[in-house]
Symmetry: C2
Subunit: 366 residues, 2 copies
Amino acid sequence: MNTMKIGVIGGGQLGRMLALAGTPLGMEFVFLDPAPDACAAALGTHICADYQDHEHLQQLAQQVDLITFEFENVPAETVAFLSQLVPVYPMAKALRVARDRLTEKSLFQDLGIPVAPFANIDSQDDLESAVDTIGLPAVLKTRTLGYDGKGQRILKTREDVAGTFDELGGVPCILETFVKFSGEVSVIAVRGRDGETVSYPLSHNVHTDGILRVARASDNHPLQNKAEDYVGRVLDHLEYVGVLAFEFFEVGDELYANEVAPRVHNSGHWTIEGAQCSQFENHLRAIAGLPLGSTAKVAESAMINFIGEVPPLAMLMEERDAHIHHYGKAFKSGRKVGHLTLLAESSEALGQRLAELQEKGIGTPS
Amino acid sequence: MNTMKIGVIGGGQLGRMLALAGTPLGMEFVFLDPAPDACAAALGTHICADYQDHEHLQQLAQQVDLITFEFENVPAETVAFLSQLVPVYPMAKALRVARDRLTEKSLFQDLGIPVAPFANIDSQDDLESAVDTIGLPAVLKTRTLGYDGKGQRILKTREDVAGTFDELGGVPCILETFVKFSGEVSVIAVRGRDGETVSYPLSHNVHTDGILRVARASDNHPLQNKAEDYVGRVLDHLEYVGVLAFEFFEVGDELYANEVAPRVHNSGHWTIEGAQCSQFENHLRAIAGLPLGSTAKVAESAMINFIGEVPPLAMLMEERDAHIHHYGKAFKSGRKVGHLTLLAESSEALGQRLAELQEKGIGTPS
């Protein structure tokens, strides 16, 4: 019956939404995730094991046609091991770059993509002297394993600098100039096995406390072409296959690279209802070697994250233009547990609806 | 985490699409189906058991908050048994009516809904004398268990009549006048627990050999109000909860009742992409006692069934406006194994695209 079996490392909401997109394509899913309550498990087979557990990794590889990832912090050794057994997309090189902020920023620099001044920090001494060079304010971030604002510290004055290296765990860090940006945008791009690349309209992203709150599809953004140029450089350099998200700071008419995520991305969730073919389906098409789908918008749209808890369904459903995405995860403060997509016929109407929902407290973090 | 567990009797493609719609609402699914390869099983727990197996029915009831059906031929005794244990929607009365063509046609008559002359047939003698009264051409159908053109015989001449009662198995039948219709339409309606009812735009349906091939959402159909009136009478009479499909024959400016299906329906599959809230999500909202979603179209749309096999994905994906639904079922001649939804900005554009796909052989039965 011409179906395909996909292995996914990680079984969170991104894996869940991949399976929701892939099941109608006849695909079947196997998730490897150490969490017994991994929320993607409802949509496929769940191998409950550590990411370094070779026996179970091998079991996964034997069951599937190819393997992908729903997060970038997969041990390099795991990727190498799996790649010997079955095709793995995106490939090891992309994960390596995205995992380490220093490698990542250096790549941007090498590819001629604007990036704020940064320095490698291996000690408090390194930090002190980098502050002398780069100046303040600046942001100190761990080179690996940071997400949702975790593993970083904003340094405004000299007093903030003392002892900070140890406070972040004494691990390798990177110091970045604090960019004075007018906005944050991301481009979700997808590259097929044959090198064909398509991009979605830029997403305007609003973060609070380092967590994405609202992502809104842009309407003929003047920097669209620039973003596509930059993301294309990265994709081609990495010979990338699948969806990649590239986050930028908007500074005047320039984009400064912030970071890339070698996977489907929270700022692209609006594509489920808002684009002809979602980022999830396009990621699966790309890694399966199938033709890519259209990234055109079908309406103006925005996504609101539910942090900590999902409001009562009965309340959300009173909003007739809202599409609900409940991840089936235990509610916990600061955790992404769902989102909502709003569709509207015009930018103005969408802006008004976003304001109305905000007034009702929908999307307010808990 | 405010989720709900739904039990579904039957685990075919309708159950599968219910789960695809309900999972993003945080719902979990348990399917009871005797087929070991039930295609909905990929999206929930599968209890592999007969519909009369009390032990497993009880096990199902204990695991879920409520139970629904993906087909109407559930034994009455099964429904009665389950109803003692957990809420069941739609309720026994609706299933009873839809299961038996005689009860069904009689109800239409009682409710003042136009229906072609019909007669109850319990023997070849009954058939002979009914043909005298009703005339030919006529259709002989088994009262129960018919679907996709199975269990029926078209009688054109007196020669077709001889022996036909036995050929259909000697079971209770109904003889219906053959209606000279100009088209077949269906209305998909949904009624909430509180009696609120909403309907989708009428669907134009094209059948070949008794199997639905193409369903196309209508554009301001002149008989929309009439259809909504008729389906409303049935829904209110049955105190129905959930989605119900009502199929009609178009005869001039009148609609003649054909049959109802007390469930989500093949002619409503276009609502997944073509309407704001799909028939699957609306069925779940209704049975869960939640506010109903908007049935408004988001574009002109049509659905093409894949009978026997799903064409290669790579070929389908070259059609940028096509949304693929592969049911993950074994391919078999005459079996519904998937469908495709086309969206277009205008009726004309949609008609052209349908013709183009037909020329390529997409949707041609095998």
